[in-house]
Assembly symmetry: C2
DNA sequence: TTCGGTGCAAAGGGTTTGCAACCTG
DNA sequence: CAGGTTGCAAACCCTTTGCACCGAA
Protein backbone atom coordinates (compact mmCIF):
# COMPACT_ATOMS: atom_id res chain seq x y z
CA UNK A 1 0.00 0.00 0.00
CA UNK A 2 1.49 3.29 -1.07
CA UNK A 3 2.11 6.19 1.23
CA UNK A 4 -0.37 8.24 -0.74
CA UNK A 5 -3.00 5.61 -0.15
CA UNK A 6 -2.30 5.61 3.57
CA UNK A 7 -2.62 9.38 3.63
CA UNK A 8 -6.00 9.25 1.91
CA UNK A 9 -7.18 6.67 4.42
CA UNK A 10 -6.07 8.91 7.23
CA UNK A 11 -8.12 11.74 5.76
CA UNK A 12 -11.22 9.57 5.70
CA UNK A 13 -10.67 8.37 9.23
CA UNK A 14 -10.69 12.01 10.30
CA UNK A 15 -13.90 12.76 8.39
CA UNK A 16 -12.24 14.74 5.67
CA UNK A 17 -13.91 14.55 2.29
CA UNK A 18 -11.71 13.35 -0.53
CA UNK A 19 -11.99 16.28 -2.88
CA UNK A 20 -10.16 16.65 -6.19
CA UNK A 21 -8.08 19.45 -4.70
CA UNK A 22 -6.87 17.36 -1.79
CA UNK A 23 -6.00 14.57 -4.19
CA UNK A 24 -3.92 16.90 -6.34
CA UNK A 25 -2.11 18.35 -3.35
CA UNK A 26 -1.27 14.99 -1.86
CA UNK A 27 -0.26 13.45 -5.18
CA UNK A 28 2.17 16.26 -5.77
CA UNK A 29 3.65 16.23 -2.29
CA UNK A 30 3.82 12.44 -2.12
CA UNK A 31 5.75 12.36 -5.38
CA UNK A 32 8.31 14.74 -3.87
CA UNK A 33 8.50 13.24 -0.43
CA UNK A 34 12.17 14.05 -0.03
CA UNK A 35 11.63 17.77 -0.38
CA UNK A 36 10.46 20.46 1.94
CA UNK A 37 8.97 23.13 -0.25
CA UNK A 38 7.70 26.58 0.63
CA UNK A 39 4.00 27.35 0.64
CA UNK A 40 4.62 29.88 -2.09
CA UNK A 41 6.25 27.28 -4.32
CA UNK A 42 3.46 24.83 -3.62
CA UNK A 43 0.87 27.50 -4.32
CA UNK A 44 2.51 28.49 -7.59
CA UNK A 45 2.92 24.90 -8.71
CA UNK A 46 -0.65 23.89 -7.96
CA UNK A 47 -2.09 26.96 -9.60
CA UNK A 48 -0.03 26.37 -12.71
CA UNK A 49 -1.48 22.91 -13.16
CA UNK A 50 -4.91 23.67 -11.73
CA UNK A 51 -5.52 27.35 -12.42
CA UNK A 52 -8.91 27.38 -10.76
CA UNK A 53 -7.55 26.21 -7.43
CA UNK A 54 -7.53 29.07 -4.96
CA UNK A 55 -4.81 30.22 -2.60
CA UNK A 56 -6.91 29.60 0.44
CA UNK A 57 -7.71 26.02 -0.50
CA UNK A 58 -4.00 25.35 -0.60
CA UNK A 59 -3.11 27.18 2.60
CA UNK A 60 -6.12 25.86 4.48
CA UNK A 61 -5.52 22.26 3.50
CA UNK A 62 -1.86 22.34 4.33
CA UNK A 63 -2.75 23.55 7.80
CA UNK A 64 -5.49 20.95 8.28
CA UNK A 65 -3.60 18.02 6.86
CA UNK A 66 -0.62 18.90 8.98
CA UNK A 67 -2.78 18.69 12.09
CA UNK A 68 -3.75 15.09 11.41
CA UNK A 69 -0.17 14.16 10.51
CA UNK A 70 -0.53 13.70 6.76
CA UNK A 71 1.78 16.60 6.07
CA UNK A 72 4.65 18.00 8.04
CA UNK A 73 5.53 21.69 8.26
CA UNK A 74 8.77 23.08 9.52
CA UNK A 75 10.21 26.53 9.84
CA UNK A 76 13.55 26.65 8.05
CA UNK A 77 16.05 29.49 8.04
CA UNK A 78 14.37 30.95 4.99
CA UNK A 79 10.76 30.37 5.90
CA UNK A 80 8.05 27.78 6.47
CA UNK A 81 8.16 24.62 4.38
CA UNK A 82 5.88 21.63 3.85
CA UNK A 83 6.58 18.01 3.16
CA UNK A 84 4.62 14.82 2.78
CA UNK A 85 4.76 12.90 6.05
CA UNK A 86 6.04 9.46 5.11
CA UNK A 87 6.16 7.89 8.52
CA UNK A 88 2.96 8.80 10.26
CA UNK A 89 4.18 8.01 13.72
CA UNK A 90 7.48 9.75 13.78
CA UNK A 91 7.81 12.82 15.93
CA UNK A 92 11.27 14.22 16.26
CA UNK A 93 13.90 13.99 13.64
CA UNK A 94 16.77 15.97 12.34
CA UNK A 95 17.36 16.92 8.77
CA UNK A 96 20.19 17.46 6.41
CA UNK A 97 19.04 20.11 3.97
CA UNK A 98 20.79 20.76 0.69
CA UNK A 99 21.28 24.46 0.13
CA UNK A 100 21.40 23.90 -3.60
CA UNK A 101 18.46 21.63 -4.45
CA UNK A 102 16.38 21.84 -1.27
CA UNK A 103 16.35 18.11 -0.68
CA UNK A 104 15.81 17.24 2.98
CA UNK A 105 17.19 13.98 4.26
CA UNK A 106 16.11 12.60 7.56
CA UNK A 107 18.97 11.67 9.82
CA UNK A 108 18.99 10.34 13.38
CA UNK A 109 19.15 12.80 16.23
CA UNK A 110 22.66 13.61 17.41
CA UNK A 111 23.89 12.51 20.81
CA UNK A 112 22.31 14.82 23.36
CA UNK A 113 23.64 13.08 26.46
CA UNK A 114 26.03 15.91 27.39
CA UNK A 115 23.27 18.39 26.64
CA UNK A 116 20.95 16.57 29.03
CA UNK A 117 23.49 16.88 31.80
CA UNK A 118 23.69 20.58 31.22
CA UNK A 119 19.91 20.94 31.13
CA UNK A 120 19.36 18.84 34.25
CA UNK A 121 16.80 21.23 35.70
CA UNK A 122 15.03 21.92 32.46
CA UNK A 123 12.07 20.06 31.03
CA UNK A 124 12.81 19.12 27.44
CA UNK A 125 9.80 18.75 25.16
CA UNK A 126 11.25 18.46 21.69
CA UNK A 127 14.18 18.96 19.39
CA UNK A 128 14.67 20.61 16.09
CA UNK A 129 17.91 19.92 14.28
CA UNK A 130 18.95 21.18 10.87
CA UNK A 131 22.26 20.60 9.19
CA UNK A 132 22.78 22.69 6.09
CA UNK A 133 25.16 21.91 3.29
CA UNK A 134 25.52 20.41 -0.18
CA UNK A 135 24.21 16.92 -0.82
CA UNK A 136 26.12 14.15 -2.59
CA UNK A 137 24.15 14.48 -5.81
CA UNK A 138 24.73 18.22 -6.09
CA UNK A 139 28.43 17.80 -5.34
CA UNK A 140 28.99 15.34 -8.18
CA UNK A 141 26.83 17.54 -10.40
CA UNK A 142 29.01 20.54 -9.54
CA UNK A 143 32.23 18.59 -10.02
CA UNK A 144 31.28 17.43 -13.48
CA UNK A 145 30.24 20.89 -14.66
CA UNK A 146 33.38 22.63 -13.36
CA UNK A 147 35.59 20.00 -14.96
CA UNK A 148 33.84 20.30 -18.32
CA UNK B 1 33.10 48.05 30.00
CA UNK B 2 29.49 47.07 29.43
CA UNK B 3 28.28 45.09 26.48
CA UNK B 4 26.19 48.04 25.41
CA UNK B 5 29.27 50.20 25.37
CA UNK B 6 31.14 47.67 23.26
CA UNK B 7 28.26 47.59 20.81
CA UNK B 8 28.28 51.36 20.46
CA UNK B 9 32.00 51.30 19.82
CA UNK B 10 31.50 48.70 17.14
CA UNK B 11 28.95 50.96 15.48
CA UNK B 12 31.42 53.82 15.40
CA UNK B 13 34.18 51.62 14.05
CA UNK B 14 31.88 50.77 11.16
CA UNK B 15 31.08 54.44 10.49
CA UNK B 16 27.56 54.27 11.86
CA UNK B 17 26.27 57.46 13.41
CA UNK B 18 25.15 57.16 17.00
CA UNK B 19 21.58 58.35 16.66
CA UNK B 20 19.00 58.48 19.43
CA UNK B 21 17.04 55.70 17.74
CA UNK B 22 20.00 53.35 17.64
CA UNK B 23 20.69 54.08 21.27
CA UNK B 24 17.12 53.22 22.23
CA UNK B 25 17.14 50.02 20.23
CA UNK B 26 20.42 48.81 21.66
CA UNK B 27 19.55 49.78 25.20
CA UNK B 28 16.38 47.78 25.03
CA UNK B 29 17.94 44.73 23.44
CA UNK B 30 20.99 44.82 25.69
CA UNK B 31 18.77 44.86 28.75
CA UNK B 32 17.06 41.69 27.52
CA UNK B 33 20.10 39.87 26.27
CA UNK B 34 18.73 36.44 27.21
CA UNK B 35 15.73 36.77 24.94
CA UNK B 36 15.19 36.37 21.26
CA UNK B 37 12.25 38.55 20.40
CA UNK B 38 10.32 38.89 17.16
CA UNK B 39 10.64 41.99 15.01
CA UNK B 40 6.97 42.66 15.56
CA UNK B 41 7.39 42.62 19.32
CA UNK B 42 10.42 44.86 19.07
CA UNK B 43 8.57 47.21 16.74
CA UNK B 44 5.58 47.42 19.05
CA UNK B 45 7.70 47.94 22.11
CA UNK B 46 9.83 50.67 20.59
CA UNK B 47 6.84 52.48 19.17
CA UNK B 48 5.06 52.38 22.51
CA UNK B 49 7.94 54.14 24.21
CA UNK B 50 9.01 56.27 21.27
CA UNK B 51 5.86 56.85 19.23
CA UNK B 52 7.64 58.89 16.58
CA UNK B 53 10.04 56.12 15.71
CA UNK B 54 9.10 54.60 12.38
CA UNK B 55 8.80 50.96 11.40
CA UNK B 56 11.50 51.20 8.80
CA UNK B 57 14.04 52.68 11.21
CA UNK B 58 13.58 49.64 13.38
CA UNK B 59 13.65 47.07 10.58
CA UNK B 60 16.51 48.76 8.76
CA UNK B 61 18.68 49.06 11.84
CA UNK B 62 18.14 45.48 12.93
CA UNK B 63 19.30 44.35 9.50
CA UNK B 64 22.33 46.66 9.49
CA UNK B 65 23.43 46.04 13.05
CA UNK B 66 23.12 42.31 12.49
CA UNK B 67 25.55 42.57 9.60
CA UNK B 68 28.27 44.05 11.78
CA UNK B 69 27.61 41.54 14.54
CA UNK B 70 26.01 43.81 17.13
CA UNK B 71 22.75 41.94 16.89
CA UNK B 72 22.00 38.34 16.09
CA UNK B 73 18.97 37.18 14.09
CA UNK B 74 17.77 33.63 13.84
CA UNK B 75 14.81 31.91 12.29
CA UNK B 76 13.20 29.75 14.93
CA UNK B 77 10.20 27.43 14.58
CA UNK B 78 7.99 30.35 15.49
CA UNK B 79 9.55 32.94 13.24
CA UNK B 80 12.49 35.30 12.89
CA UNK B 81 13.87 36.66 16.12
CA UNK B 82 16.50 39.16 17.21
CA UNK B 83 18.82 39.26 20.15
CA UNK B 84 21.64 41.41 21.40
CA UNK B 85 24.95 39.80 20.53
CA UNK B 86 26.81 39.57 23.82
CA UNK B 87 29.97 37.81 22.77
CA UNK B 88 31.16 39.27 19.51
CA UNK B 89 33.40 36.37 18.58
CA UNK B 90 31.20 33.45 19.46
CA UNK B 91 30.98 30.23 17.49
CA UNK B 92 28.01 28.05 16.68
CA UNK B 93 25.81 26.85 19.49
CA UNK B 94 22.43 25.28 20.16
CA UNK B 95 19.54 26.98 21.88
CA UNK B 96 17.24 25.92 24.63
CA UNK B 97 14.09 27.96 24.31
CA UNK B 98 11.52 28.18 27.05
CA UNK B 99 8.03 27.70 25.67
CA UNK B 100 6.60 29.63 28.57
CA UNK B 101 8.74 32.75 28.95
CA UNK B 102 10.67 32.78 25.67
CA UNK B 103 14.06 32.86 27.29
CA UNK B 104 16.77 31.45 25.03
CA UNK B 105 19.82 29.84 26.56
CA UNK B 106 22.89 29.14 24.55
CA UNK B 107 24.36 25.69 25.02
CA UNK B 108 27.10 23.82 23.19
CA UNK B 109 26.23 21.81 20.11
CA UNK B 110 25.39 18.13 20.70
CA UNK B 111 27.73 15.36 19.61
CA UNK B 112 27.44 14.99 15.86
CA UNK B 113 30.17 12.37 15.40
CA UNK B 114 27.77 9.59 14.37
CA UNK B 115 25.95 12.01 12.13
CA UNK B 116 29.20 12.89 10.43
CA UNK B 117 29.83 9.23 9.61
CA UNK B 118 26.48 9.00 7.91
CA UNK B 119 26.97 12.23 6.03
CA UNK B 120 30.40 11.24 4.79
CA UNK B 121 29.65 12.31 1.21
CA UNK B 122 27.87 15.47 2.16
CA UNK B 123 29.40 18.90 2.62
CA UNK B 124 28.28 20.31 5.95
CA UNK B 125 28.14 24.09 6.16
CA UNK B 126 26.31 24.81 9.37
CA UNK B 127 24.12 23.57 12.18
CA UNK B 128 20.91 24.79 13.69
CA UNK B 129 19.71 23.14 16.86
CA UNK B 130 16.67 24.14 18.91
CA UNK B 131 15.59 22.42 22.09
CA UNK B 132 12.16 23.40 23.29
CA UNK B 133 10.86 23.00 26.82
CA UNK B 134 10.29 24.69 30.16
CA UNK B 135 13.17 26.44 31.85
CA UNK B 136 14.14 26.05 35.51
CA UNK B 137 12.71 29.40 36.55
CA UNK B 138 9.34 28.72 35.00
CA UNK B 139 9.19 25.25 36.54
CA UNK B 140 9.71 26.52 40.08
CA UNK B 141 7.23 29.29 39.36
CA UNK B 142 4.67 26.72 38.19
CA UNK B 143 5.31 24.44 41.17
CA UNK B 144 4.75 27.20 43.67
CA UNK B 145 1.51 28.36 42.05
CA UNK B 146 0.01 24.86 41.77
CA UNK B 147 0.86 24.14 45.37
CA UNK B 148 -0.71 27.38 46.57
C1' DT C 1 28.28 71.86 5.84
C1' DT C 2 27.60 67.17 4.36
C1' DC C 3 25.64 63.07 3.65
C1' DG C 4 24.03 59.29 6.40
C1' DG C 5 19.79 58.56 8.87
C1' DT C 6 14.99 59.30 9.78
C1' DG C 7 9.76 59.74 9.35
C1' DC C 8 5.93 59.53 6.56
C1' DA C 9 2.84 57.40 3.68
C1' DA C 10 2.04 54.32 0.43
C1' DA C 11 3.13 50.07 -2.01
C1' DG C 12 4.22 45.29 -1.87
C1' DG C 13 3.73 40.37 -1.03
C1' DG C 14 2.26 36.54 1.37
C1' DT C 15 -1.57 34.83 4.12
C1' DT C 16 -6.32 34.91 5.97
C1' DT C 17 -11.34 35.89 6.03
C1' DG C 18 -16.50 36.02 4.81
C1' DC C 19 -19.75 34.31 2.10
C1' DA C 20 -22.36 32.25 -1.67
C1' DA C 21 -21.95 28.33 -4.66
C1' DC C 22 -20.45 23.66 -5.06
C1' DC C 23 -19.89 18.71 -4.46
C1' DT C 24 -18.73 14.58 -1.52
C1' DG C 25 -20.77 11.12 1.19
C1' DC D 1 -30.01 16.22 0.56
C1' DA D 2 -26.84 18.38 4.22
C1' DG D 3 -22.89 20.04 5.72
C1' DG D 4 -18.20 20.16 4.75
C1' DT D 5 -15.33 22.41 1.09
C1' DT D 6 -14.20 25.57 -2.39
C1' DG D 7 -13.41 30.03 -5.20
C1' DC D 8 -13.53 34.72 -5.30
C1' DA D 9 -12.24 39.06 -3.88
C1' DA D 10 -11.14 41.87 -0.55
C1' DA D 11 -9.02 42.53 3.88
C1' DC D 12 -5.12 42.01 6.66
C1' DC D 13 -0.60 42.18 8.46
C1' DC D 14 4.18 42.58 8.35
C1' DT D 15 7.88 44.44 5.76
C1' DT D 16 9.92 47.39 2.23
C1' DT D 17 10.37 51.52 -0.71
C1' DG D 18 10.84 56.54 -2.32
C1' DC D 19 11.59 60.85 -1.04
C1' DA D 20 12.03 65.19 1.47
C1' DC D 21 13.66 66.68 5.82
C1' DC D 22 16.71 66.26 9.85
C1' DG D 23 20.81 66.06 12.58
C1' DA D 24 25.49 63.73 13.91
C1' DA D 25 30.16 64.39 12.84
Amino acid sequence: MSNLHLALQLLQQNNYKLTKQRHYLLEYLASHEDFYITLTQLDQHMRTFFPKMSHDTIYRNVKEMQQIGVLETKMFQNGLRVKFQCDFHKQEHSHFICQQCGRALEIPLPDFSKTHEQLRNYQINNYHVEIWGICDLCQTKNDSTTKA
